[in-house]
Symmetry: C2
Subunit: 198 residues, 2 copies
């Protein structure tokens, strides 16, 4: 079936991806724009997975200083090349991530950085609450409870990105989308959040 130039253009604007990829996705979805977006998203995640082990030595230290000077955030976001570090999408992501951190107040970047004692305590609580779940499924149910509770509250990667641009996505999902778009591995190395009186 024929895909119009207008359709391709609209999908490009929505996703920021190259023309040929948008055209192929639309052909695959038989012209359905929403399906095409889903196809591109899945393909993007594959790209992100493939890039995930590439070394990131370049990057940017993003910052957000609240206007009253009482709250401030730095976040080191790494990429493979300085070319990407100067890319507008990369810089925007970094800036918005710092704003997110200022408001959402995570304690660490990744789950494995959480205090093991805290995780053990939360796990014990979840296991108690889910003791009626058949044993074969319990571990997964407990993990699910932690994901929605502790991790979503305290772990940057698992938090919902508090910015309209990334509505409904976690930080991890927004990061994977960025990787897919930039075609380069991007990692969040560390952040620092200071607030007077905390």
């Amino acid at each position: 079936m024929g895909i119009s130039a207008q359709q391709v253009k609209e999908l490009r604007q929505a996703t920021g991806l190259p023309m040929m990829e948008c055209k192929k996705a639309l052909e695959e979805s038989k012209g359905d724009a929403e399906k095409a977006k889903e196809i591109l998203r899945k393909r993007g995640l594959k790209v992100a997975d493939k890039k995930a082990h590439r070394e990131t030595k370049e990057g940017l230290v993003g910052s957000y200083i609240h206007h009253d000077g009482k709250t401030a955030v730095l976040c080191e976001v790494n990429c493979e090349t300085d070319f990407v570090a100067r890319n507008e999408d990369f810089q925007e992501f970094t800036k918005k991530l710092c704003m997110h951190i200022a408001f959402a107040d995570p304690v660490c970047v990744r789950r494995e950085q959480l205090d093991p004692e805290l995780v053990a305590k939360e796990k014990a609580i979840a296991e108690e609450e889910l003791k009626k779940v058949p044993e074969a499924k319990r571990a997964m149910a407990v993990e699910g409870k932690l994901a929605k509770g502790l991790y979503a509250k305290k772990v940057l990667m698992d938090q919902e990105f508090m910015h309209p641009t990334y509505e409904g996505k976690t930080v991890d999902e927004a990061l994977r989308d960025l990787v897919a778009k930039l075609r380069e591995n991007v990692t969040i190395n560390r952040f620092c959040r200071m607030k007077i009186g905390e």
Copy 2:
């Protein structure tokens, strides 16, 4: 002896201290401006010592972001009141302190925060080098060697303030001068320095 209004004015400009204090110091030094500065400085240190135990819950998170976005610093500087947090001298100190940290790369704010193993190692080296010093004086000599070496290199408070405004002063000395001027305790709580590629 008579002190002219011009002398008082000049001393005020040099020190930023109140007129009456400048006048008194000039009377005490019999009109010698340099001696008067020294008198004010010593008085200031006494003031700083008196204020040192007052609680500091207000303050500012200072920041310095290098223009290339590859180096950034936050530093939490605390004071007693929000009035002082909005004072120009306080804000200037905070800003310049962040610039200093970006360039001088300290590892901690105070000596007691240094890695104890590192301190023990440096102490052992100094003791070996100073073994000909009489035992009664050796501990002090070792401490002096550490102060000029390890502490001056790695500890923020002991570093020479890398800014023309504070030439020849350590960060600790510049901080005490600020306390004397503001008449309020000021403390450096913590800093965070990020540099891409480090």
